[in-house]
């Protein structure tokens, strides 16, 4: 990420904001950016000039702002760092959502890639490892709040063992909880993370539902099955069973 490394924290914030605004409205206006970041209009103009110089945004005075390919990549990178950090704070450190968000906002600009990857791996490990898991995290939360977590240790370990056995019997591996496209209610927006390989996957991908694409769920059919989504500016219908193979990140206007 050579481009991203040379950006200042505030420019990264701008990129992130522009990306989110585009996700919602297709193109960003300087005043939207100013409102979102709570800064003045002139400082937005200044920042946009700088970003345009680095060829990260397409910008001309009084015109809509869009990201260049390079800009989008950089913005995605910032957002990814933000999400990883926030998730780590919430899922592993049991911090409240908005506190985590704020902290992630500050830390996202300076965290090196290697450490970031380790954060992800650690979070995954905690999820999957029988000695970790959500109960363990809950126990950690209890420890933070009450400072007396040692009394139940034997019981807890016995429980963990029991669960390992159970899992072995079922033969399944615990999976990370993911949001599927079919879980997004009508009117909701989301971003595609992954399209699971399946019979329809290649067609779904060709129709523009590629990782990173933005989707708006428009409506559900009267009988409750196929859903109507908007992707790349047009309407596409999918059965719920097909939408089940699409992992997404819900996007809520913050």
């Amino acid at each position: 990420m050579t481009t991203a490394e040379t950006l200042t924290a505030s420019l990264e914030d701008y990129l992130e904001a522009i990306f989110h605004i585009i996700a919602e409205k297709r193109a960003a206006r300087p005043k939207d950016i100013a409102r979102r970041l709570k800064v003045s209009n002139p400082s937005v103009t200044g920042a946009l000039r700088l970003l345009a110089k680095k060829k990260l945004v397409n910008y001309a005075p009084y015109d809509l702002v869009t990201l260049t390919g390079k800009g989008e990549e950089a913005a995605r990178d910032v957002i990814r760092r933000h999400e990883v950090l926030r998730d780590f704070f919430v899922k592993v450190l049991a911090v409240e959502q908005d506190v985590a968000d704020k902290a992630a906002c500050k830390m996202e600009h300076s965290i090196p890639g290697v450490i970031l990857e380790r954060f992800i791996q650690f979070a995954e490990f905690v999820e999957v490892c029988p000695r970790g898991g959500s109960k363990w995290i809950a126990g950690f939360g209890y420890h933070c709040d009450y400072d007396s977590a040692m009394e139940n240790c034997e019981k807890c370990i016995a429980q963990a063992l029991e669960e390992v056995k159970k899992k072995k019997r079922q033969g399944g591996k615990k999976k990370m909880p993911v949001t599927k496209l079919k879980d997004i209610p009508p009117g909701g927006k989301c971003k595609v993370n992954r399209v699971a390989a399946g019979k329809a996957s290649s067609r779904i991908i060709e129709m523009g539902v590629v990782p990173g694409a933005l989707i708006e769920v428009e409506k559900i059919a009267p009988l409750g099955d196929p859903i109507d989504i908007k992707v790349k500016g047009y309407h596409l219908s999918l059965r719920k069973e097909e939408a089940d193979g699409i992992d997404v990140t819900p996007l809520n206007a913050r």
């Binding site: 067609r203 990782p211 559900i220 009267p222 196929p226 790349k232 999918l238």
Partner: protein, 732 residues
């Protein structure tokens, strides 16, 4: 420059491709089929700047993978027949998705012209295109058109001819940089080389595979090795099946695994993502969006049409309209046709001096047969008028969207609903309506079960039998029961077929809901005309042939001279002895004629087959008379009633005939009456249905399977009902 070039029209469905094809060729077009598949092949010609242009309208596709028969056909046409220019019609108001096909065409390395169609709508939506820039990205000329107004057609032809010229120039000097040199001379040094950077992970594997393919000498002049390698990474079944070396396939699988490991996604997904990346990069630089429309008019229409509450009533109302248009409005012209052929038959009958076999062949066989073909034409034309309007406005996709839940339950696609519904009117147009289904398996299943939807021609049979055997309070419920049996059997058979001989994963419902558009009168009428003509030309001949065979079966060998003489003698006797009472004489003569007709039918081939089959028909409670009438009913279901009239010597009978009803009551039990209805509902559809199934499935195998399968089902079912009913003592 050669005087004649071949140009292929490619493009997404709903991009206005057909309109442009019609604009360019007018009526100089020809519809055929691609060999071996039921994909339509449309060709036409036009002239521009002294060049004869042979246009081939490829099936509308979103991509060039081997996903559907249409895509394979489109791709193979481009690869095998090497058109001089490929024109990709693009809906400019839906640019990104439409450009996906353009990217694939660019990767194939064909001489390409991009057409930004519906550019007026794109402009209304606030898009501004930098065509020069886009043209450099895609290495192709770009023309803006408005298909339904005919704007931009000359520019399009100019671009096509210019691209073909360039190609010639490239071929003339292959050593000096070939194609690129020529393109560069015309379009400047920045012309694209038709390559997309797929990122380090994929590029590394691509390079390895490309080398491998080159070494194994597989590429050749037909395929470009990079393209081939890319298709293999995409797991393209069609291309994979052409690679015979298992070692090579193993290497491909290894490459795919490596990509999956490195990127965490399957290679198809990564490759498609990169293609879309290329497109959005190009669009970001060359397309500006000046206004922002959150809800288009189309979205507002959809707020009603596919509304959770209103969607279903609106859909049912639309279906009622289609049904009304096809059958209620189609009824008077059908009567006219019937009357006309009746008149023609009788006038030939009176003008023809003497009774002869030839006369009977002409009046009953040929005129009757042609009438039997033409009679369906009003239905077919009106149905396809309705379907063309539904398709062109974009409602068809919504209809499928609304009905998919129901149809998916029986393993079919939402689009199967309309043919099934039309089946209640007549199976022939219904089977033609299955053309809207893209998947062959779905289409076949729908075609095979459509005859179980009780068609209008079976109604006279029910109308004859129900009042004859059942009390008045039972009339309506009985009719309802018969229709329900048909529907339930259709559902069960569809499920059965889907899980046995036509097994396969159900087709994903990944379908575009195109924006609503106003259809043009020209394209709707052209579509209607095409279907009507296709029916007359292809199915009509088969129907005519079968009806002549059936005529022969019910007329030959006819009465023996001895029987003839016997009936003549009787006539003479009546005429002589009732000279003073002409009314009585007429009644007696008619009775003799009726008995004569009965005797003739009994001794005909059909009658003999009926007699021969009697032991076989016994388990269903039928005698040879019903058997003979059933053979006649193969011409058209309602003929059953007339044939029963003849075998019971009541003369010209229709479903209101009380004398025939009383004959039936005297000879059969209500159980047999029900069995007749059941058998007529399920058994062998009429010959027109078989002919159209043969035509639409493109094989006699399926047509005969339909005939045999339904008859066997009817036989088993009716026998079970009859024997079961006897055992339980019901309706004896």
């Amino acid at each position: 420059m050669r005087p004649k070039i071949t140009v292929a029209l490619a493009g997404n469905p709903n991009s206005g491709k057909t309109t442009i094809f019609n604009n360019l060729t007018g009526t100089r077009q020809h519809v055929g089929n691609y060999p071996g598949v039921t994909v339509e092949r449309k060709e036409g010609r036009c002239r521009h700047a002294g060049v004869d242009i042979h246009l081939v309208d490829l099936p509308g596709t979103y991509s060039l993978t081997a996903y559907s028969a249409e895509e394979v056909v489109a791709r193979n046409f481009i690869i095998d027949e090497k058109p001089d220019v490929v024109v990709d019609i693009i809906d400019a108001s839906n640019l990104e998705r439409n450009l996906y096909l353009a990217v694939q065409l660019m990767e194939l390395g064909v001489p390409l012209v991009l057409v930004f169609n519906m550019s007026d709508q794109a402009r209304a939506r606030g898009y501004q295109f930098d065509l020069d820039k886009l043209s450099r990205f895609f290495g192709a000329r770009i023309v803006e058109t408005v298909g339904h107004k005919g704007h931009g057609m000359q520019q399009l032809l100019e671009a096509v001819v210019a691209t073909a010229r360039e190609q010639d120039c490239a071929e003339a000097q292959p050593k000096s940089g070939g194609n690129l040199a020529c393109r560069a001379s015309i379009r400047g040094p920045q012309a694209s080389d038709g390559r997309i950077d797929y990122g380090p992970d994929i590029e590394a594997e691509l390079e390895k595979l490309t080398d491998l393919l080159r070494q194994s000498g597989f590429s050749g002049p037909k395929y470009n090795p990079r393209w081939l390698a890319l298709k293999l990474l995409e797991n393209d079944k069609e291309i994979r099946s052409q690679i015979k070396s298992p070692r090579l396939l193993e290497r491909v699988d290894q490459s795919r695994e490596r990509i999956e490991k490195r990127t965490g996604e399957n290679p198809e997904s990564v490759i498609a993502g990169r293609r879309y990346g290329f497109i959005s990069g190009a669009c970001q630089q060359a397309v500006r969006s000046t206004i922002e429309i959150r809800h288009t008019i189309s979205d507002r229409i959809d707020a009603v049409m596919t509304n959770r509450v209103l969607g279903l009533p609106v859909f049912l109302a639309m279906m009622y309209l289609v049904f009304y248009l096809t059958f209620t409005i189609g009824d008077p012209p059908m009567d006219w046709i019937e009357e006309f052929f009746g008149w023609l038959g009788s006038s030939v009958d009176t003008l023809w001096p003497a009774d002869s076999v030839l006369k009977s062949l002409v009046t009953d066989g040929i005129i009757g047969g042609v009438g039997g073909v033409v009679i369906f034409l009003p239905n077919i034309l009106l149905l396809f008028l309705a379907i063309a309007i539904l398709e062109d406005t974009g409602y068809m996709a919504r209809a499928a969207f609304i009905m998919d839940r129901l149809m998916h339950k029986i393993g079919l696609h939402g689009k199967s609903f309309i043919p099934m519904l039309i089946g209640f009117g007549c199976s022939v147009p219904a089977i033609m309506a299955t053309r809207t289904l893209e998947n062959r398996r779905d289409r076949l299943v729908t075609m095979l079960v459509v005859p179980l939807m009780s068609c209008g021609a079976r109604l006279p049979i029910y109308a004859l039998i129900i009042p004859a055997f059942f009390p008045k309070a039972w009339h309506a419920p009985m009719l309802w029961i018969i229709y329900m049996i048909g529907i339930l059997l259709a559902i069960a058979s569809a499920k059965l077929l889907r899980s046995t001989i036509l097994r396969g994963e159900s087709v994903p419902f990944v379908m575009e809901l195109p924006p609503y558009r106003l259809p043009t009168v020209r394209s709707v009428l052209l579509h209607m005309w095409e279907r009507g003509w296709l029916y007359l030309r292809k199915a009509g001949t088969v129907i005519l042939g079968i009806s002549i065979v059936l005529w022969a079966m019910t007329n030959f060998p006819g009465l023996s001279p001895k029987q003839q003489a016997e009936f003549e003698k009787q006539r003479q006797m009546v005429e002589n002895s009732f000279r003073s009472e002409p009314q009585k004489a007429a009644a007696l003569l008619e009775e003799i004629d009726n008995r004569r007709a009965e005797a003739a039918l009994e001794s005909s081939i059909a009658g003999r087959i009926g007699r021969l089959m009697e032991p076989l028909l016994r388990p269903m409670g039928f005698d040879w008379k019903i058997g003979t009438a059933l053979i006649g009913a193969f011409a058209a279901k309602e003929v059953f009633v007339a044939q029963m009239g003849i075998v019971y010597a009541v003369g010209e009978a229709d479903e209101e005939s009380e004398s025939l009803r009383s004959k039936l009551q005297n000879n059969y039990s209500p159980l047999v009456g029900f069995c007749i209805m059941l058998f007529c509902l399920v058994s062998a559809p009429c010959m027109a249905t078989i002919a159209i199934t043969r035509r639409e499935s493109n094989s006699w195998k399926w047509a005969l399977f339909q005939l045999g399968g339904l008859t066997a089902l009817a036989y088993v079912l009716t026998a079970c009902v009859y024997l079961g009913g006897r055992l339980l003592g019901l309706g004896i």
